[in-house]
Symmetry: C2
DNA sequence: TTCTATTAGATTGTGTACAATTGAATTGTA
DNA sequence: TACAATTCAATTGTACACAATCTAATAGAA
């Protein structure tokens, strides 16, 4: 990726408020904030792939399992709120997890519209193998503890800002 | 998104080197670094959509046009290096841009394997309308100048680290 | 209570992403 | 110079991601 000279080279943030001096070009890739975000997300997920392949999970299936390891059972809607995914994405992901035997899907008796997704025994026990995934990933991301912490908190602030009140 | 308490709550970074005290759980979504990255990338791109719709561009087409506004003409391989995309993704994107009249595709005379993608007059002049996109986006991202700059440089460091050497 | 509005999830259609393969062109080497 | 290896782009197959639509179920209001 390109080097960066100064803080105002982030057009989504600065183009409106900064005085546009000589050569500053808000449509250059190197001046974007979203583009490296998009590249990093893709590349980190690509680094997950070999480790997730060992569990026969995709990244989307992995984060779905994480939500279920924490909550045991969730509706499609509940999963969507946690993962920021809609039913168009989740329905096939969950059917795939069901086929692998990690979850079961069943209509709620209280409200027939609701589909509850629940971990099976096999899905629960996958947790122990999955514990190796973050361990292995940690060696792929060469950021200092401070940088990682800073990145973490800025991303959470940004995510809150972008996803609030839809 | 969930609140964060302390810097070690980033398992991809910390799980290998940190002493695992009592309840720290590396497989919780709130303890991931990749998950908010993935969510932010998706959500920022979603915010682009209404502005890009006005230009009849998708985000992938938009970054492709950015590369071409800067370089005028590039091979598929050249575009792939800049955008971190492979031919399987780029071929349909470029055919779509060709259909809209923004680029032309032609085999290189020097090397018939190479396809050069070149801006048309119409593609070039789209630049002027596209200048409004970063202006409009700047009001969607509520980060301070300092946070944006910090995010920018950490993401570039991470991208360099993830994409170096193929 | 009946009719309307809302909600949950599934489906459809479009557009990425990427791994793996293919085929044509070029390069490197014996 | 042949011929094996490499390179470039296209194609194929799988898996998202989301907008828009659809259907069934539930809730709300007259």
């Amino acid at each position: 990726m390109q080097p960066v000279n100064c803080i105002r080279d982030c057009p989504e943030i600065f183009s409106a408020e900064t005085n546009m001096t000589e050569t500053f070009n808000p449509l250059k890739l190197e001046n974007q904030l979203c583009f490296p975000l998009y590249v990093c997300a893709k590349e980190v997920i690509r680094r997950y792939k070999p480790f997730l392949d060992e569990l026969d999970l995709t990244y989307t299936q992995y984060i779905t399992m994480m939500a279920l390891w924490e909550h045991r059972s969730l509706s499609i809607k509940g999963l969507g709120k946690i993962l920021f995914l809609d039913s168009g994405t989740l329905t096939p992901v969950i059917k795939s997890l069901e086929k692998k035997g990690y979850v079961i899907r069943e209509r709620s008796k209280d409200d027939e519209r609701v589909v509850n997704v629940t971990l099976t025994e096999q899905g629960s026990s996958l947790y122990n193998e999955a514990l190796q995934v973050p361990v292995k990933m940690s060696s792929c991301i060469e950021l200092s503890a401070e940088e990682a912490g800073t990145l973490y908190s800025i991303l959470h602030k940004l995510a809150d800002n972008l996803t609030e009140e839809n």
